[in-house]
């Protein structure tokens, strides 16, 4: 009995220490799976989320270094768009998903009521007479805030979201010269008998 208790509590402490609670996700996204084996980075992250209906949301990391960046982003938006909003609330928001004009009203919604379905997302359609969408401008502002530092651009799309949404996001990346990004996926085993499988057996490293 004593030994079992000891083991049980050892296990308990192990699980308590290793558990990382996920922040409750306001945007429900089911990512596709891929054979990629590199773990998604969790520092200096800029995450673009595409929800099942193709709406686009943006979020950046919540570390100390990201705090200053959020300041920069907020300042830049206020200057460029000639709008004012609560910077503290802007920084506290887990994700942003609205047009610039709607930012003040978006930030006045309590955080727990900001659920994916009820929000409009960042507009990705091309502005008339402009070269890109509002999302392109968001990305430009964020890119500027990260200038000089590392930026891990992550794209998290839902399985069922349609390609045009994905395409408009890539277009916005391209317009900002953000040529390198990573797509968040679930790990999947490599199909047996394929070339990659054979290479792995041989112990070859693959470049990802």
């Amino acid at each position: 009995m004593t030994a079992m208790c000891d083991v049980a509590f050892l296990l308990l402490s192990f699980f308590i220490l290793t558990t990382k609670f996920k922040a409750p996700e306001a945007i429900a996204v089911q990512t596709p799976s891929s054979v990629a084996s590199k773990v998604a980075p969790d520092k200096d992250v800029v995450l673009v989320t595409i929800d099942p209906s193709g709406k686009v949301f943006l979020s950046i990391g919540e570390d100390k270094t990201d705090d200053g960046r959020k300041d920069l982003i907020a300042k830049s938006i206020m200057e460029n768009k000639k709008i004012t909003f609560d910077v503290a609330k802007f920084k506290k928001a887990h994700f942003w998903g609205c047009s610039f004009a709607q930012l003040p009203s978006y930030l006045s919604i309590p955080e727990e009521n900001r659920k994916g379905e009820t929000l409009q997302g960042i507009p990705t359609d091309t502005i008339k007479g402009g070269t890109g969408s509002e999302f392109t401008e968001w990305m430009r502002i964020i890119k500027d805030a990260y200038s000089g530092g590392k930026m891990n651009l992550l794209l998290k799309g839902d399985n069922t979201s349609k390609y045009p949404a994905f395409k408009s996001v890539i277009d916005a990346f391209k317009k900002n010269d953000l040529m390198k990004f990573q797509m968040v996926t679930n790990p999947e085993s490599i199909p047996v008998g394929t070339e990659l499988w054979k290479n792995n057996l041989k112990g070859e490293k693959r470049d990802e």
Partner: protein, 185 residues
């Protein structure tokens, strides 16, 4: 397990008339604590996510406006994969023009079976020069993000070194639509 020595060590015998204090047992019933422990273990086992999400890298090419700047693909080594609605996949080799559209344009699926796109990629790869082989992925407006990721994954799995994500042309999307309409569900 946890026990305190309650005997009054040393040989101090109490004299007659002195009441013997009642010996209290210090054994604590541990069952509820253990129960709680196991309950917590179960909880943490279920909530722990062991598999972390992975990331798949994608490098975008620079848009070349002038036709002469664009990368040319050899016709003989090109395999074009079109992604349609409801996980349909279509493919053709080389160039597509009006005269050969119906014979060249074939359909496949994402399975690994004989009519899967993987078999076709492997076949094409084996039959062409490595330097000429290029796969062009053209996702249609109706396909999902998952289809695109699956197609890109297929490139990694089959060791395709050169591939491109290209916009679908009107002719091709028409062909996809016609084939989808006529294909038995």
């Amino acid at each position: 397990m946890a026990e305190l020595d309650t005997s009054s060590g040393g040989g101090h015998k109490k004299g007659p008339g002195v009441k013997k204090a009642k010996k209290l047992s210090t054994r604590v019933d541990l069952t509820p604590m253990v129960d709680l422990g196991f309950l917590l273990i179960t909880f943490f086992i279920f909530t722990t996510t062991m598999s972390q999400p992975t990331a798949m890298k994608l490098f975008l090419p620079k848009d070349a406006d002038k036709p002469e700047d664009q990368n040319k693909a050899k016709e003989s080594g090109a395999l074009t994969i079109l992604l349609g609605k409801d996980n349909h996949v279509f493919y053709y080799e080389g160039m597509l023009d009006n005269s050969n559209a119906s014979s060249k344009f074939k359909s496949a699926n994402f399975g690994s079976g004989e009519d899967g796109i993987r078999a076709e990629i492997i076949k094409k790869k084996a039959s062409t020069n490595d330097n000429d082989f290029v796969v062009v992925i053209k996702p249609g407006a109706e396909c999902t993000y998952k289809n695109v990721v699956d197609a890109l994954d297929e490139m990694t799995v089959n060791g395709v070194k050169r591939y491109a994500l290209v916009d679908i042309t009107d002719v091709e999307s028409q062909l996809v639509k016609i084939t989808e309409a006529s294909a038995p569900k």
